[in-house]
């Protein structure tokens, strides 16, 4: 049944009176899981039409083993991160430990679906270290559908970066993962070993490429690296600007790396 009110308004050529409560603030986020680490990255540009802010982070450390990247409507994103953090704090008080990653993922589904009919306008990528020490990436849509991935991009430049990573994930970091379109289709496609140094340069390259072609991507790149319990620094100590942001001494360690991107 057509909506008669909007039809008559469309016919009279008047703009809709209704103001949407959402905006779209551009930017892109990305996460890659390794066997004993994970990398989460996001650019720091926030756009509002043609104007922009140069440093508005959208990747957040939740615990020492979980990092959350939020992309879409940044007000909703920030509020959602606050709500997740509040839940995690209550969990810590109740259980005297940090919530495991897969539990955070399920919690986020519940929280997102609770707003099924007025959603947080956000694509979430949760990444970190599972209880078995493996790196993991969980991707969510705005109403809570989620799946575990090895490599995922979301946001404005998703279509630019995801197919590039499908291809490079593997190629850069041989001997490794899927080798998309570079191997027979029958070979095993279960990801195995990716060295951290290769993943980091791949992530940086991807953002440089995206900022080259997309107006909503640029200014700065903020990367979080989470290392599993007892794993070595794998070259992180030599990386310029790598900064440790670990809060506890439980085992998992979190680092940040910042790089600049095109500002035009």
């Amino acid at each position: 049944m057509p909506d008669m009110v909007s039809l008559s308004r469309a016919a009279s050529g008047q703009p809709s009176q209704f103001k949407t409560p959402y905006s779209e603030n551009g930017g892109t986020i990305l996460a890659v899981a390794g066997s004993r680490f994970c990398v989460v990255a996001g650019d720091t540009r926030r756009t509002d039409g043609y104007s922009q802010t140069r440093y508005a982070p959208k990747v957040f450390r939740l615990t020492d083993k979980a990092v959350l990247a939020v992309n879409g409507f940044s007000a909703d994103g920030n509020m959602f991160v606050n709500k997740v953090r509040q839940q995690l704090e209550w969990y810590r008080h109740g259980h005297a430990r940090d919530m495991p990653l897969h539990e955070i993922a399920r919690l986020m589904q519940t929280m997102l679906y609770a707003r099924r009919f007025f959603p947080y306008y956000v694509s979430n990528i949760l990444s970190g270290i599972e209880e078995d020490g493996s790196g993991a990436v969980y991707t969510f849509d705005s109403v809570g559908s989620y799946e575990r991935d090895t490599c995922r991009v979301a946001g404005a430049a998703q279509s630019f970066m995801q197919p590039y990573l499908d291809n490079q994930d593997d190629w850069y970091t041989r001997p490794s993962v899927h080798y998309k379109n570079q191997r027979s289709t029958h070979s095993s496609s279960r990801p195995t070993q990716l060295p951290l140094s290769s993943v980091l340069s791949l992530v940086m390259d991807s953002f440089v490429n995206a900022s080259e072609r997309h107006v909503e991507v640029g200014d700065g790149l903020e990367i979080y690296v989470v290392l599993a319990k007892g794993s070595s620094l794998q070259g992180l100590e030599k990386l310029t600007g790598a900064q440790e942001v670990t809060a506890t001494s439980d085992g998992e360690r979190v680092f940040t790396v910042r790089r600049s991107l095109r500002r035009d």
Binding site: A157, S159, F160, M161, Q162, P163, Y164, D166, N167, Q168, K180, N181, Q182, T185, D205, S206, N209, A210, E212, R213
Partner: protein, 208 residues
């Protein structure tokens, strides 16, 4: 429903060292339903110009026939082959003739053009559906997977690739881009144009 996405399909062209490459997918669909896995979107114009026509399939055929006619008339009148630059402007003006009722096609042109010294140099160009020309120095993309092609090409392409390396680059770009596009894929056709020959290859792709 966008008319540019009704049949699906994508084309890309790249510049190399003394060569150019152009590639397309082979799918023809009716929205989500695949109809043909052998629908050519790239056509030879002269011995060293190829034209890619992604967009609405009826206009792919109509424009192919129209350009064949106009290039034949040019060849007869001028008693010589058309140059890529000239052909690009022919494409542009042909599309602009229909400014207010356009053909739903975004052409991509790849060819080798004559230099004043008598040599050949690579040439690529693309236009929008009303004929606005884009002469790029690296690569041009068009079709339903264009944003994906941009992303992969931006990462893989580098200047002065030899024909075989250019073939590998354009093939990987195309295959990985169309694998993330539901409306493109079902096989890929690649042409690499060098000074003295054209290498044409059909690639198998994912069928999902």
């Amino acid at each position: 429903m966008s008319i540019m996405e009704y049949n699906g399909g994508s084309v890309i062209a790249m510049v190399g060292k003394d060569c150019v490459a152009i590639a397309s997918d082979l799918r023809l669909g009716n929205q989500a339903l695949g109809v043909s896995s052998n629908f050519q979107k790239i056509f030879p114009v002269t011995d060293r110009i190829y034209l890619g026509l992604p967009g609405l399939a009826t206009d792919v055929t109509t424009l192919r026939e129209l350009f064949r006619y106009r290039v034949n008339m040019y060849t007869v009148k001028e008693e010589r082959d058309i140059e890529p630059e000239t052909f690009a402007h022919l494409v542009s003006s042909t599309l602009y003739e229909r400014r207010f009722g356009p053909f739903f096609i975004e052409p991509v042109i790849a060819g080798m053009s004559k230099t004043p010294a008598g040599g050949l140099k690579p040439f690529i160009a693309a236009t929008d559906l009303i004929g606005c020309l884009n002469f790029a120095k690296d690569f041009v993309v068009a079709g339903t997977a264009s944003s994906k092609l941009f992303g992969v090409a931006e990462g893989l392409w580098e200047p002065d690739l030899e024909p075989e390396d250019l073939f590998e680059t354009i093939s990987q770009t195309m295959l990985n881009a169309v694998d993330r596009d539901a409306y493109s894929g079902w096989g890929v056709m690649v042409h690499v144009i060098t000074k003295d020959k054209v290498i044409s290859r059909t690639l198998k792709g994912r069928m999902d």
